[in-house]
Symmetry: C2
Subunit: 217 residues, 2 copies
DNA sequence: ACCTGAACACCGTTCAAGT
DNA sequence: ACCTGAACACCGTTCAAGT
């Protein structure tokens, strides 16, 4: 009775594409590869998506939809804003290679609209007028995306050993810089090279963003 | 006498690639297209760049090198940090489609190392220990990049008329949302849709970042 | 040192056609 | 409604070769 007959569906394909992106990077997400992964002709994809851009948009919308917006409370605006930003980061972090495309769906996907409305409401409570709230809300979302997707070493997915050896190499080459010219850089080298993906990196910088909003009121 | 004989050089090619990216987007930057633009065979590019990744890295490094780091003064750390962030934004803004790749060269290009050293020194003055300074410096750079490159509508380069009509369309579709559910979003619609590229958008959010650093000390 | 020519394995996409 | 087959214009890249 159920329409189980069709072997493919948009959702299955999006899931498959996400898995592909997580495992081999966004470059592996290809019309032809996605078709092959599902035992079907490349042209079959064009029934489910208008073109490749539509596929990528669907992936981004899926990610925006994964944000579990916390219920509104009577806590102070800054605590609530912090929780919302955290919820965004939590949703994006499992798919860092896809996260970079999330911004283009935040004003399109239903979940993105709700999220934006919520942030704007909190910013209004904080005392920002609509125009400034709009600019700040836009930037906050882009910043959280940058926090998750910004890892330059994340663009090529690699094994843990590969990543560790690259981190060691990069730390060493920074440590080898002339100490007279780059004292702070040398002292900070481990943090600069390995901060991405760490919990405290997210915590610290999400705090920074919320404190920043406090500061510009 | 001078080695003017060679028709091509790395720098000429990088400049050409930047122009191409500005005019037609990063998707137009292609080994084959770049060769054609210079009246030469695609394979000639492989003399000047190991592969396409090396070309893109060179473009990113060029952008990082374009940052005019302001001279250190005895002004308070937050004023100086603000000036440094501003200098980064000023350098990146003319090439928004390329800006997204800048982060991967900031710890590699010479100019990026100087820039990072400077920011770390200011953060140390602000009272952050090296580890936290490293995490904040990394995030600050990624955030400024996001501020410049984050425009979702910038990915396809278009004429001004195209951009304006798309902004009108997007504003209208946001304004048509149910007012009961999205009151703040509707009030903020113009700002949400058209804030990218505006001077006050940069000013406000660079302030936010500096204030954020103040807040987490 | 700097560039070419031919070839290969990949892309996205269109169009007509099948069931 | 959902998928196939053949074809087209594009990619990045290698390898041997030219000057």
């Amino acid at each position: 009775m159920a329409k189980q007959s069709q072997r493919l569906s948009r959702d299955v394909l999006i899931d498959c594409a996400m898995t592909l992106a997580d495992a081999e990077g966004l470059g592996a997400v290809t019309i032809r590869r996605l078709a092959q992964e599902n035992g079907v002709t490349p042209m079959a994809m064009y029934w489910h998506f208008n073109d490749k851009e539509a596929l990528l948009d669907a992936m981004a919308a899926h990610l925006v939809g994964a944000v579990k917006l916390p219920a509104a409370t009577d806590a102070p605006w800054d605590a609530q804003l912090r929780d919302v930003l955290d919820a965004i980061a939590v949703a994006l972090r499992p798919h860092p290679t896809v996260a970079g495309m999330a911004a283009r769906q935040v004003l399109i996907a239903e979940a993105g609209l709700e999220l934006t409305e919520r942030v704007l409401a909190l910013l209004a409570t904080a005392g920002l007028e609509p125009r400034r709230a709009a600019e700040v809300a836009t930037f906050l979302f882009c910043s959280v995306v940058a926090l998750v997707a910004g890892d330059p070493g994340q663009r090529e997915v690699a094994t843990d050993e590969d990543r560790e050896s690259r981190i060691r190499y990069k730390t060493a080459s920074l440590a080898a810089l002339p100490p007279a010219r780059f004292p702070h850089l040398i002292a900070a080298a481990p943090g600069l090279v390995s901060c991405f993906g760490q919990d405290d990196f997210f915590d610290l910088n999400l705090d920074l963003l919320v404190q920043g909003v406090r500061g510009i009121r």
